[in-house]
């Protein structure tokens, strides 16, 4: 039986964070019932297309999916259980904001079947939380984490580092605090200034000051690796650290190039039909998506085959992010072509990658230059 993962995108937030370029929107009121129905009919549409699959993982992402009613989560999961085969070790994650109103729902989420929570803590001091546009305080975040840890076996949280005027010393102590709290999984993202965000606008006008320069951003990254490693939290991916066995199964699906369904506004998917890879994409505007789903206009959603070259390129771009690396035989099978030997050799000489038993991995220096390596191999 083929295996699939399901990503469910809830596109709404209470407020737009200044660093976020995700498909998230702020609305005064949302008719949860109407939205639930549309998620259910989308899932039914996919169940019809891919009926005989085993679901490895489900991930509620966003936006802020912890703004969904517990009833919505319940009905969506029931639909999935009804139409597909569900193994006992399925991982069902939900992203949540650590505010007091949201943490009240954790118990019922757990009852619905969510078994892994990912909290958007982002910082452990109020000054930085405010600068990052977050609506919670550090104290609230700690409380939310405590409530979560009572309700779920697995709780991860996100932190953003390389913030304005952050020093290496401050970050080190904050990270150590976080490690004290952790249940075995942390996502640690270096702040990236994206165009089309509030930070992006400020940055282009030179009004976002105190960000780490080239050299210190390398130091921030290396420090993060060092501290986590010393505390038994391994970097299984560029920004994800965990104790052995605590890896997020769902995200590994992406990084290992496995198929997944994308449900909800702007959600992307990758599916295989007759060994051919297809990409799917739903319209990103929430109201448009709702309208098209209500009218069963799934034919308007993007569903197109991608070339074997593109498939192979996606495999490299994703799998090189993993500590376990990529299998070059798998690449060759997908691409129907080999990686350029001279480039591989050059990268080995430059000590950016290693190649053993057909497994290509980035080195410690190479990890920081993953995009460069990808360009060298593919451009």
């Amino acid at each position: 039986m083929s295996q699939l993962s399901i990503y469910i995108h809830w596109p709404f937030c209470e407020a737009k964070c200044p660093y976020c370029d995700f498909n998230s929107h702020v609305r005064k009121s949302i008719n949860q019932e109407e939205w639930t129905k549309s998620y259910i009919s989308s899932l039914k549409y996919w169940a019809q297309k891919f009926p005989k699959s085993k679901i490895n993982s489900i991930f509620f992402g966003g936006g802020t999916p912890s703004l969904m009613s517990d009833r919505a989560i319940n009905e969506i999961l029931s639909t999935i259980y009804k139409h597909w085969s569900i193994p006992s070790d399925i991982e069902i994650s939900l992203e949540a904001n650590p505010t007091s109103s949201e943490s009240k729902k954790f118990k019922s989420y757990s009852a619905s079947g969510i078994n892994r929570l990912s909290l958007g803590v982002q910082a452990l001091n109020d000054k930085d939380l405010k600068k990052l546009g977050r609506l919670h305080t550090a104290k609230e975040a700690r409380n939310a984490f405590d409530i979560a840890s009572c309700n779920f076996n697995r709780v991860s949280f996100d932190l953003i580092y390389g913030r304005q005027y952050q020093t290496l010393k401050n970050w080190e102590s904050e990270l150590l605090d976080a490690i004290k709290m952790t249940m075995g999984h942390l996502s640690l993202y270096q702040l990236t200034i994206e165009d089309n965000t509030r930070f992006g606008q400020l940055f282009s006008k030179g009004k976002l000051r105190g960000l780490p320069e080239d050299v210190s951003s390398v130091e921030f990254f290396n420090l993060t690796q060092k501290v986590c490693e010393a505390n038994d939290l391994h970097a299984y991916e560029i920004s994800n650290h965990c104790k052995k066995g605590q890896e997020c199964k769902h995200n590994l699906t992406y990084w290992r190039g496995k198929p997944f369904l994308g449900v909800g506004p702007g959600a992307h998917g990758r599916v295989d039909i007759n060994k051919k890879r297809y990409m799917t994409e739903a319209p990103s505007n929430p109201e448009l998506w709702l309208n098209q789903v209500q009218n069963s206009e799934f034919k308007n959603f993007k569903f197109e085959q991608i070339s074997h070259t593109a498939h192979a390129e996606e495999y490299i771009m994703m799998s090189l992010r993993l500590k376990e690396g990529m299998n070059i035989n798998h690449y060759t099978n997908l691409a129907k072509d080999e990686l350029p030997n001279d480039k591989v050799k050059q990268l080995i000489i430059e000590k950016l990658i290693t190649l053993e038993n057909n497994i290509l991995k980035t080195t410690k220096t190479g990890k920081l230059l993953t995009n460069y390596i990808i360009r060298q191999l593919l451009c």
Partner: protein, 599 residues
């Protein structure tokens, strides 16, 4: 053939956007020359580039039939001339083909620099000039002020100016009346041997080369064997026609008439603007005066972005050259850019037009190197070398002195920007010759080195004056100055395509700016990349691009795959546009952007 007194030949002089093409359109419509269903805007501008830029590059002509208010029938020949300084020689020949000009001035804007040069060319050609004030329907129109300005600045009587709006059609009839009443009729002798002025020519895929002529004496008819007096070439006429503006065959062209002929001519190069055409058997005694072979003034290298397209570039350049005798080319090799061509142009507009046409009509992406002027290198052995390309500069010890071309630049600018304009000219080694006022606008005349103007002077002028200045120039001659060749070294290797000639006093500042620019333009590599500017082995400026240490995406999940792949596709395309130079990759746009100054 019509009698001389029923023929009027004229051209229109105007600044860009002052309504020359619209007026021509109206005249064509009013005389019912073109059926209204066939009418389109800027009907005389046939090239896409002409329409898009609102400029005229090739001369064109149209014959209008007009019955005046007094009831006489007239033939009016309008020659539409290029307005730009690059084509000043072509303009002067067009002017020699007619007896009068309409000076069209926007009644809300007033006289512009470009108008001046062309109106003086018309005056030099002994034209009778009719002043036309256009756009009188605009609220900002001020006919009295502009008429006064015309009298002050140009020195011609504007009291009888015809006030029109070419857009709405107001007053255009009066222009036709003024043409027949005020312009002189042509003269000539039909019994004398053929003497005709070659005004312009162009290549037509079906007809071969079409030649536009003005007959002075004699007649030009089908079957005649003609002689081009300057080139000595002979051809037999296939077809004689007038343009309305479609070709309409006629039996012959007589004195005072303007028309076209074809004679199985394969290349435009065989037809020189300004040449005198006569009969091979019955030659006129003296050719017309004023002929000049065309001389390129500005040179630059054109290289294909994708080096495998060199042969395509060669054939497209050869084809374009068939249709443009004023453009020269020879093969060039550059260590940085590979194979390409060193091309000579009449000026910057001409350069841009040719480059656009190659990119557009032949779909070749080009790298254009910095435009350069012709330097006269006087060597210690007494010989003189014309330098078209700084890369070919002889060893400094063999050079006695260097001369560079200078221009007389005329700039008209609103008072409030005058300070900025003076500073710009001063910074470009200009010497002020004149500064006068015409109303709220100043007219400054500067003596400037052409090499300070060919690159981004016009852009800078537009930017410091918010587009309110107009600018024109004439080449005045050569003079000696302290010129040196500045080289740019990237990762310790000289990059030939970035070599430029600069004035010694400005070299350090220029070098610094170029190094700073290149630091932004060249991507980071895995190693440090030094960028240096040097003069004769002495380093005058230096920047360093630090080594790439971090390039990694923090967040990358399922929803990011498509976006990442699109980015990769873009990077692949960018890679094609890179030029490998030693171990360093230089993006092609760097070769031109590095030279732009933001002073």
């Amino acid at each position: 053939m019509a009698k001389f007194e029923n023929i009027r030949n004229f051209s229109i002089v105007a600044h860009i956007d002052h309504g020359k093409s619209t007026l021509a359109d109206r005249l064509i419509q009013l005389t019912n020359t073109v059926a209204s269903r066939d009418m389109k805007e800027q009907i005389l501008d046939s090239m896409d580039i002409e329409r898009e830029r609102g400029i005229t590059i090739k001369a064109n002509t149209v014959r209008l039939n007009y019955i005046s208010k007094s009831g006489s029938e007239y033939i009016l020949n309008l020659i539409d001339t290029p307005g730009h300084v690059d084509f000043s020689y072509e303009v002067s020949r067009s002017m020699k083909a007619v007896e009068g000009s309409l000076l069209v001035v926007d009644a809300s804007q007033g006289v512009e620099a470009q108008t001046l040069a062309n109106v003086y060319t018309a005056i030099d050609a002994d034209h009778e000039i009719i002043t036309v004030l256009n756009k009188v329907d605009l609220p900002a129109a001020d006919c009295d002020r502009v008429a006064e300005q015309i009298e002050d600045v140009i020195g011609i009587d504007a009291t009888d100016a015809v006030k029109i709006s070419a857009k709405t059609g107001i007053g255009v009839e009066n222009v036709l009346e003024a043409i027949v009443n005020k312009l002189p009729c042509p003269s000539g002798d039909i019994e004398r041997p053929l003497k005709a002025l070659l005004v312009d020519s162009w290549y037509d895929a079906y007809l071969g080369v079409v030649v536009m002529v003005r007959v002075k004496d004699g007649r030009l008819k089908k079957g005649d064997k003609i002689l081009m007096m300057q080139t000595g070439a002979t051809f037999t006429i296939d077809k004689v026609a007038v343009l309305k503006p479609q070709m309409e065959n006629i039996e012959f062209l007589g004195p005072g008439e303007i028309g076209v002929f074809t004679a199985s001519i394969k290349q435009v190069r065989d037809t020189r603007v300004g040449d005198t055409i006569t009969l091979d058997r019955d030659q006129c005694i003296e050719p017309l005066t004023g002929y000049k072979p065309s001389q390129p003034v500005v040179f630059c290298g054109l290289f294909p972005v994708d080096s495998s397209e060199f042969e395509v570039l060669r054939s497209s350049i050869e084809k374009l050259a068939l249709n443009d005798a004023s453009f020269s080319f020879e093969m060039e090799t550059s260590a940085a850019l590979g194979f390409g061509f060193r091309c000579g142009f009449l000026g910057l507009l001409h350069l841009e037009v040719i480059r656009d046409r190659i990119e557009r009509e032949y779909s070749i992406e080009l790298i254009t190197t910095a435009p350069s002027v012709i330097y006269q290198i006087f060597k210690t052995d007494g010989s003189m070398l014309e330098l078209h390309n700084p890369a070919d500069m002889p060893d400094a010890v063999k050079i006695d002195h260097i001369k560079e071309p200078r221009i007389k630049a005329t700039i008209l600018v609103p008072d409030e920007f005058l300070g900025d304009v003076l500073k710009l000219c001063q910074d470009r080694r200009g010497i002020q010759n004149d500064l006068t006022y015409a109303g709220a606008r100043a007219m400054v005349v500067y003596d400037l080195p052409l090499n300070e103007v060919v690159f981004d002077f016009h852009d800078r002028l537009k930017s410091v004056t918010k587009g309110y200045a107009s600018f024109d120039y004439q080449i005045t001659g050569y003079s000696a100055d302290q010129l040196v060749k500045m080289q740019i070294l990237v990762n310790d290797e000289p990059v030939d395509a970035l070599s430029t000639m600069v004035h010694r006093a400005r070299s350090e500042a220029r070098g610094r700016v170029m190094c700073e620019k290149l630091k932004e333009l060249i991507p980071q590599h895995m190693f440090k990349v030094p960028i240096q500017a040097s003069i004769g082995g002495r380093i005058i400026a230096r920047e360093t691009i630090s080594a790439l240490r971090k390039d990694v995406t923090a967040k990358c999940y399922g929803g990011d795959m498509t976006r990442k792949r699109k980015l990769l596709d873009k990077q692949k395309a960018g890679k094609k546009r890179m030029r490998q130079f030693g171990r360093v990759e230089i993006p092609q746009e760097a070769f031109i952007k590095a030279l732009k100054t933001n002073e």
